[in-house]
């Protein structure tokens, strides 16, 4: 294969290029959720059918209750209507739906890979920016807006005005104890900034990603958008194929052999040129936590909160000052002095089985001293966690064990953080007001979140692992 993995998938899905450079792309598979109502409505207003319902898959996630997986459990009528609209639109359009009450329901970016809907070499879209997650399997996947959702429903295609640039982020070496994929992506964003990837598709390369599980790769690709990138991807390999084999919507039988033969070729050519290159050494990455209101405001847990007086320019000084004021933190404080009032473990970034195991390992035999909520990414993840006894560990430690959905990452279902509270959260965005008006979010890994739950402050999980606390 010549060029980059991204080039190959882009070209493979190019239907036509207009003389002015606009590209019409074919969409392999399309995911919808309970926020897709406007996209379906625009389609209905034009009197158009869904062109490929067999390649469209939906599940409700943003508005669902974590108290019970039923429509009735959604107390607020507007939220209930969003979920009910998805059920009705999917039924009317013959779109496959993993609805409330189905064990396969969950966060759209968890169930895509879990069901084998996400496949290497596919161009995939969804009306959600964290669609970047699916790139972990070697797909080219990115988020789109409501108008584009209706365009994809109507035509199974998407216009792009220009080809994104390519960036390769190479991380080599082994991660230290207590250092997880979440820490890797937070370290990458801290290095390249929240706009560092703007206009780019990132390919993650190097031994750190080669040795990473599929769940870990999903966490990394998921937050490509927080680096400003359109998409993130990892070339498929034996780990990918082993993960996918036998999943319901993955190819079966002779198709499986043929698909794997094709997928093995999905790697960037050794001489492929990327528009930019970034390198990190895995050994230098520590457990991370964010201290500000942009994902780039993250620091190693052993470090200090920056002093705006040392910022390189007035603009960044102002940004740090505003962030610290909102967060109620002081320059030069140790990261481990950040108080935590609440913990959320979940979201499309960190709600998969491996994430829950890592958090449970820290929670085992300890007690949460603040409210802590664990929300599995799907009914199947929840089922597996329960089979492994993880729910019992969390409950014994005083954590609430919720039903699958996006929950407190974005608070659209009513699971919010109170004004002024600090929340250690395994989600992806620490924006002002993201988890609720005035909420102060600290992005961390599942293990670090569990550590914060039992100490009530940002805590280096390595100290707990060593039995020090």
């Amino acid at each position: 294969m010549a060029g980059t993995l991204f080039d190959h998938i882009w070209d493979r899905h190019t239907i036509m290029v207009r003389p002015d450079g606009a590209v019409l792309l074919h969409v392999g598979r399309h995911l919808v959720h309970d926020g897709s109502r406007a996209g379906f409505k625009a389609l209905a207003e034009k009197g158009l059918p869904v062109r490929h319902p067999e390649r469209t898959f939906g599940t409700p996630d943003h508005y669902v209750s974590t108290h019970a997986s039923t429509l009735e459990a959604i107390a607020e009528p507007h939220r209930r209507e969003m979920v009910a609209a998805l059920t009705e639109n999917a039924r009317a359009s013959n779109v496959t739906l993993f609805d409330l009450g189905d064990v396969r329901q969950g966060i759209v970016h968890v169930i895509g890979p879990e069901q084998g809907i996400t496949l290497p070499g596919l161009l995939m879209v969804c009306g959600d920016s964290h669609t970047a997650t699916h790139g972990a399997l070697g797909a080219l996947a990115f988020g789109i807006g409501a108008s584009e959702v209706s365009h994809v429903l109507a035509t199974q295609t998407l216009w792009q005005s220009s080809r994104p640039k390519s960036m390769r982020v190479t991380v080599d070496g082994d991660l230290g104890p207590g250092v997880t994929p979440k820490d890797v992506i937070l370290a990458i964003i801290a290095k390249i900034s929240a706009a560092g990837g703007t206009g780019h598709v990132i390919e993650y390369a190097g031994s750190t990603f080669r040795n990473m599980s599929m769940e870990g790769r999903m966490t990394v690709c998921n937050m490509s958008i927080e680096a400003g990138a359109r998409a993130g991807m990892v070339a498929p390999d034996e780990t990918t194929f082993a993960y996918l084999k036998g999943r319901p919507y993955a190819p079966q039988g002779a198709d499986w052999e043929r698909a794997v033969a094709y997928w093995r070729g999905l790697v960037s050519a050794p001489d492929a040129v990327f528009d930019s290159e970034v390198y990190l050494d895995a050994a230098e990455i520590e457990p991370m936590a964010s201290w500000g209101t942009s994902p780039e405001n993250a620091a190693p847990v052993s470090g200090l909160i920056p002093d705006p007086a040392h910022a390189p320019d007035a603009e960044r000084r102002g940004a740090i000052e505003r962030a610290l004021e909102y967060m109620g933190l002081k320059p030069g404080m140790r990261m481990e002095e950040i108080p935590i009032n609440r913990v959320f473990i979940g979201s499309c970034t960190n709600s998969r089985i491996e994430d829950l195991r890592a958090a449970a390992e820290v929670a085992r035999g300890r007690k949460a001293i603040i409210p802590a909520l664990v929300v599995a990414g799907s009914g199947l993840v929840k089922q597996q966690a329960e089979a492994e006894g993880l729910d019992a560990i969390f409950k014994a430690a005083g954590f609430r064990w919720g039903e699958p959905g996006c929950s407190m990452c974005v608070g659209m279902n009513g699971d919010i953080v109170a004004e002024g509270e600090h929340c250690a959260s395994t989600s992806n965005r620490n924006f002002v007001g993201r988890q609720g008006r005035g909420a102060r979010t600290h992005l961390v890994s599942p293990a670090m979140a569990a550590a914060a739950a039992v100490t009530g402050r940002i805590t280096d999980v390595r100290k707990l692992m060593a039995g020090g606390i």
């Binding site: 239907i15 920016s129 365009h151 924006f431 008006r437």
Partner: protein, 206 residues
Amino acid sequence: MRKFETVEAVAAPLEMPNVDTDQIIPARFLWRARSDGYGDLLFNDIRSDSDGSRKPDFVLNRPAFAGAEVLVADRNFGCGSSREHAVWALADAGFRVAIAPSFGDIFFNNSFKNGFLPIVLPEARCNELRAALARNPGAKLVVDLEAQEVRGPVGVNDGFAIDHFEIDPFRRELLLAGMDDISFTLSQSETIGRFEDRYKAAMPWV
């Protein structure tokens, strides 16, 4: 969709980098139907106190910027989620144009679908424009899509320039015509059909 004609309107400077879509429109309002409008919710949490009262020092609450149709912002404007509501909130509040050194990619794409024009100008020029607009509250900018120019501020002798901007020709054509791209795409259905046959033959498992 409304045709994009030359805009000559009050321009408001927004002095914050990395304004994300959660700040443009907080997630808790997204259930609202498109037809109910989002204009009153634009920048809700930075514009108002938690009791709903407007903060007098926020730029869009100042009387001089009432009726602004152009927003001059800082880098990475509209980063974050894919919610098109961010564009709807701006458009419903009367904005037709945002000028910034860079935009969040999805926000940028969503803009064109709503007759809303995002313009990239060099960072130094955006800084100059914001400063000039802050010194002359209520000054206007002229945004000429046909000529691909931003001119102004007009009517004040401070910071005037004619800035050329780039725009993808397909998007320009659709904006000028007030047309959405679905109709154009549907007119290409033969080409799409032939592509789909080849695609299915090569990847029968999809």
